[in-house]
Chain length 173, copies 2
């Protein structure tokens, strides 16, 4: 069981976009440069985050990405499910029905005990991820930062942020 | 994030082996036939379960697999980690250190907040899987079975079980 590298990149990107003003966006190229990752790979995940409603996009050559929701409303679970898809990690193939001497189909009305136990674990995993928001993460980082990280982000944002013609909240869609 | 199909097959196989007497084994081919799955794919996972100490093997053309531990001592977590490997699903690449204006290496002594949150969720997942043993699963199945499943297994075991020359506990290794 392995989460894709896209999960780490997506969470860091969402956290970085949380610091933008209401009329600012960042390009995929800038987000990739800041995190030292492949622009094409990151772009794929930014597009997924956008389709799932976590990010918004300002189109055009001077456009870019911004948070479409409040950082307090975006959980780690939201980002993980956007990147990895909604299906649980354990996908029961109902192999108990296979093989010789199959029992009548109607016999297996209750879910398999194995599947039920695996899904209980998945619910526990998801509940923990749902309890942590981007706001929580940023507060944690801020608490541990002596100013070094904030300064680094500021220098980069000053050089890379794109100003949109009007506040994003006034844009359609 | 997806667990391999081997997880379902491994758990069902371990549960089936739990019903063997102390001088009985089942071949990989029989386990594959009962569950209607690819023998070569299942064999790979049986070998992994054997290497991890969950299964024992009786060698030779009349040999096969048996449980090397009590069903009460084998948790779902043991089987999942044997099949999927011990690494957590989220593998932090520390991309926070990348990109322009890197901060000094010594700055990142504490683990990344994102990694910490992801690992908390993984611990919660694993704790749930650790709390369910093969004994628990068998008790659940028995509780819900009107005798149909037990009868099917008995017919199959009668036809496929291999008797070892002596009790397995007397075998070296």
């Amino acid at each position: 069981m392995k989460l894709s590298d896209g999960v780490e990149q997506a969470i860091h990107s969402v956290a970085m976009l949380a610091s933008l003003e209401d009329n600012q966006v960042l390009s995929a190229a800038a987000l990739a440069e800041f995190h030292g990752v492949s622009p094409s790979y990151l772009l794929k995940h930014l597009q997924t985050l956008s389709r799932s409603g976590i990010l918004g996009t300002f189109p055009g050559p001077k456009g870019g990405y911004y948070l479409a929701q409040s950082p307090a409303d975006i959980s780690l679970l939201d980002v993980v499910l956007a990147v990895e898809g909604p299906e649980p990690a354990f996908r029961c193939k109902e192999i108990r029905r296979n093989g010789p001497n199959p029992v009548p189909d109607g016999f297996f009305t209750a879910p398999c005990q194995i599947s039920a136990a695996m899904l209980r674990a998945e619910r526990s995993y998801r509940a923990e991820l749902k309890s942590v928001t981007i706001s929580h993460l940023l507060a944690d980082v801020q608490r541990d930062d002596d100013g070094t990280l904030a300064a680094r982000s500021c220098v980069f944002l000053d050089a890379n942020v794109r100003i949109t013609p009007q506040n994003r909240s006034q844009e359609p869609g």
